[in-house]
């Protein structure tokens, strides 16, 4: 996993509550057996006029001009501004894969669905929860200013606005450590192999029926 470094990028506003993972990446694209290449189908049903197919050439498909990611002013966005309960619905990790593949490194919302929230960290995306009022303000500023950018400083846990104002945010210390160092979860866990083995031995002794098969 790449290390998460301090970044400044364009903000794209996704002004809808309860954006579910079916909308983020429709199911016909889940059939890939790879982890990459989902970006062109991110928000597929909202982004294109036609119904997307896994083998279609996406560059030739008609775009819905009014969809936020199709507007010229939001090209190159790496920060997605969203509403409450973002990422609800199925547990598909293709949702963060698609967001990441498209280029989003940060998602800001008043709340996230649990599974999506966890999956984001595991895929190098930083989900930031901010107060609803603060998110509202960011939406207003993004709409009002073409090319609106934010700086995300994870080490300092700060979002810096173009005018220099800073918004602090909370992040789980372990998740932060992993993102900043690009650490893979499995490697971290296997550092505790001996403890896992000891636990397992004890379990075999006290609950042998779990190991009968």
């Amino acid at each position: 996993m790449d290390k998460f470094v301090k970044m400044t990028a364009i903000v794209a506003p996704m002004d809808r509550a309860n954006v579910d993972t079916d909308a983020i990446i429709p199911k016909q694209f889940l059939k890939s057996i790879k982890r990459t290449g989902f970006g062109p189908n991110l928000f597929d049903e909202w982004r294109y006029e036609d119904v997307g197919q896994p083998d279609a050439d996406n560059s030739k498909r008609p775009l819905r001009k009014d969809f936020v990611l199709n507007q010229p002013r939001y090209q190159g966005a790496k920060i997605l501004l969203a509403r409450e309960n973002f990422g609800c619905g199925s547990s598909r990790e293709h949702a963060p894969w698609a967001l990441k593949d498209y280029g989003f490194d940060v998602i800001i919302a008043p709340s996230f669905a649990d599974i999506f929230f966890n999956n984001s960290f595991k895929n190098g995306i930083l989900p930031i929860i901010l107060d609803e009022k603060v998110v509202d303000e960011l939406f207003n500023e993004t709409f009002a200013n073409e090319g609106y950018q934010l700086t995300i400083d994870l080490a300092e846990q700060k979002i810096i606005k173009p005018n220099g104002d800073a918004i602090e945010f909370d992040v789980d210390s372990f998740r932060k450590h992993c993102l900043l160092n690009g650490l893979d979860d499995i490697g971290l866990t296997l550092q505790h192999s001996e403890e896992i083995k000891a636990y397992e031995e004890n379990r075999k002794a006290t609950k042998p029926w779990l190991y009968a098969n």
Binding site: G89, S91, D114, I115, N118, S173, F174, D185
Partner: protein, 471 residues
Amino acid sequence: MSGKTLYDKLWDDHVVRQEEDGTALIYIDRQLLHEVTSPQAFEGLRLAHRKPWRVEANLATCDHNVPTTELKGGVDTIEDPVSRIQVQTLGMNTKEFGITEFGMGDPRQGIVHVVGPEEGMTLPGTTLVCGDSHTATHGALGALAHGIGTSEVEHVLATQCLIQKKMKNMLVKVDGQLKPGVTPKDVILAIIGKIGTAGGTGYAMEFGGQVFRDMSIEGRMTVCNMAIEGGARVGLVGVDEKTIEYVKGRPYAPKGELWDQAVEAWKELRSDDDAVFDKVIEIDGSEIQPQVSWGTSPEMVLDVDGIIPDPDQESDPVKATSIRNALKYMGLEAGTAIKDIPVEYVFIGSCTNSRIEDLRAAANVLKGKKISDKVELAIAVPGSGLVKQQAEAEGLDKIFVEAGFEWRNPGCSMCLAMNADRLPSGKHCASTSNRNFEGRQGAGGRTHLVSPEMAAAAAVAGHFVDVRDYL
């Protein structure tokens, strides 16, 4: 000190290592695998030269992509190339890593959440995970079960553990007695209608009270299955005699002396009387009516004699917009009676409602009746090959077919339309599945979540009706 909740007990029993910041390394007893969320996990193992920690802890089956129509040539003749590749890949991966798979054609193949309990792979007191958000289903047996993402599937394969933070405790207490014709599906839909789709976010949701004590294990599975639609990753019901009776004799369940030992331990698996929950919701079971969802989120649900809400009467602007969007997508107007919604497709199946009791209940309504000629397609899709066999032994397949249903092979089918079973755009479907999101059953399709009984009655009438008029 106050007592412990069931979730507290299950959690405490599985902590391998506790970090100061609240994260913990949790031991996972069982993992179920299917073809959609596992390929990248196996790919990850291979890329990192890692092996599964405990091969026997895993069981795989294919469900999301499998065709439900007769397929003589097996996997290699699945028409859709991407579906075929996923199903084939699961076969290759499980073989390479030595994991048991119930593949296509095996009578034990089926929807992963039907197969786990049916095989006794799901046991009380275990932690069980699967790369699928409806894993909460297994909590009906007093197991701590929840959905995980593909990276976590890989993590569990490689380490038999997950990194987690403890959730909060929530109790949904439904006391009283259900009215005849009111089913577990109506109970969970009514709960979601009350608490909303985010009402349980961050909580392990235990279902307690008379209604769940009276409910069968399969009914409890229907309820726990949809905990995630109420925002909770975990649904739980305490262990009782019914649980133990259900598990007994299943292929992967303990036998002989080990069985007695296990049962002794399982009896502790319920919340202590003085346990404290962070949030408690109480509902009077006797007031629950048959439910029908009308919108594009499971919380958009009403009693069968309800009237579709008017966004202009909604004071919260975010909610008003959601209602407006939902009405537009569903092609419905505010003020319409639920009973006036036409039903053109009927789907009885999915991990919510495809077990033998569900099929019996639907068949009971259909017996001696014909589906309306307004219904273009009605399908009944058993949850597993074994459910299908059982249903056929009871003659249920004949009742479905005589009524005008198609009787299919097991799989997820039209629950999410990854295979060829798709709801066409603009059509209203009475569906026993769990999600009515836009496009869930097929692009543009209009899903209405109901119980198997209500789906069967709607099939006969050609629009929604109160099943109690049909019993």
